[in-house]
Amino acid sequence: MATTNEMKNFISKDQMQITIFPLEIIIEILSRLPVKSLFKFKCVSKSWLSLISSSHFAKSHLKISSRNNKFSHKNLLLLSMYLPHTLCSCPLYSALHEKTISCINKLNFPWNPSNIIAGVSLCNGLFLICIGMYNNNLFLWNPSTRKTKKLPFSGNEYSRCDVTYGFGYDESNDDYKVVEINGVYGIHYVYGANLKIYSLKSNSWRRMKKYGDALFSPDSAVFVNGSLHWAVAHNDGVSTFWDTVSLNLENEQFGNLSLPNYDPGKCNGSSSRQLGDSSDFEPGILNWALGKLGDCLCLFCDYYKVKLDVWVMKDYKAKGSWTKSVSLPYTTGIGPRISPLWISDNGEVLLHDGSHVMVYDASKDEYKRVEIHEMDDNGVGAATVYAESLVSPDLDGTANTPELILY
């Protein structure tokens, strides 16, 4: 949390007229308020406006969200199934504890809702969204503050299928960074991925060193503990071998990440992921993906139509600390594809199964659907848990709260 001294330098004692509580208590209280309340309270007084708008306070507010075992500031974002999309959010607490969600906020897209959302990454309540089928429509969006920023073009036009992204926060430089990698596993085995990195602070892209060792998964990176993590494919001319790689955002160094001893399932060769068309899928075939639950890096091992095993790396520093947390069965009616969203302290798993949001209770081996009336017609296309934050996608004044960005 920003020290009281830092805050006091920012707001002089004369300005802070709080007569009942000292400044540090006011910050503690305000840090626990939802963003909507904070925006309302901007007009309480000039000192409150300064405080709430400061980046120091945004960090304090964020610290409260990252208390893993509580629901503070955490929401569930829901995207409708078909275009034109509708977007809603509700408190995570409601999704887990209410059979029918009562508090749904409809959100406005800052872009045309008839355009395809071709990729989403999330960090500290800020989303990186890729719109359309090329790499020239990237946005940073904070749904809680409703501020958006379009990123400058990275310089090389690629089809969306040929690039993969990573988005995260470099704490030592207090900067949000986006990595764009052209070198995605596909039909052509062309090694030598081109990497570019965008810094929000400088609002510009620059080239990084090429990465020649493997091809990247099209899935966006998972950001945990200061590093981005991707699944990568190595091909020795005979077969494809998948493992994972990490990229530290502070020193921009690549590293390895060892995976747990997961059940290999029915597969041809160690740790292969089937990326062929669905006719290649036999029940039990393993397809794994990296993920994140709370603040922990996870490995989701999907055994086609049989089960999904969730492995969690509880302690990032202790690299051997993978634990198999829960196994979600593909019982009748569940599917086509399970995506875990949150695991609560009592072992309940909130998940999206491709069309609905559900809660799985491992102790009863039971799924319960979460009723969301706003999404009834065609179901939920995608869902993610995010923390409300005051993080601004704008460090240079170019973000705005548009009615609609027309492009």
Partner: protein, 150 residues
Amino acid sequence: MSSTKLLTLKTSDGEEFKLDEAVAVKSQAIKNMVEDDCVSNAIPLPNVDSKTMTKVIEYWKKHSEEGVSKDQLNDFDKGFLEVHHSVLYDLLLAANYLNDKELVDVICQEVADRIKGKTPEEIRKEFDIKNDFTPEEEEKIRQENAWAFD
């Protein structure tokens, strides 16, 4: 079983409270005094009155009890915080002065929950804050953030 040391705390209105040291050190401020070895007599707490100290000790004792489940503690906390805001604010100031981070956290969350739906004017009354915006300035902020006011 080792004998527990009893500490004496003296509040602003002269009342004395005797408490197990193991419980009293939930207050980082008291813990520091114990470690610095200046607790031969009663520990003076000039910023806390006896009414508030009674409540604080009630909280500390419950949270030091053995065999209490998480659910039971949650229920206790809920009931404990169902007090008039003036009592709550006295508790918060005491918890801050005594430097008990856990209690400060719990009370701040309760205060936040109580104020989140209030209007700016109600907030000003609650915390005795002067509105130093001109009507035009205030209107501008409301318009820029209209979505927050519905």
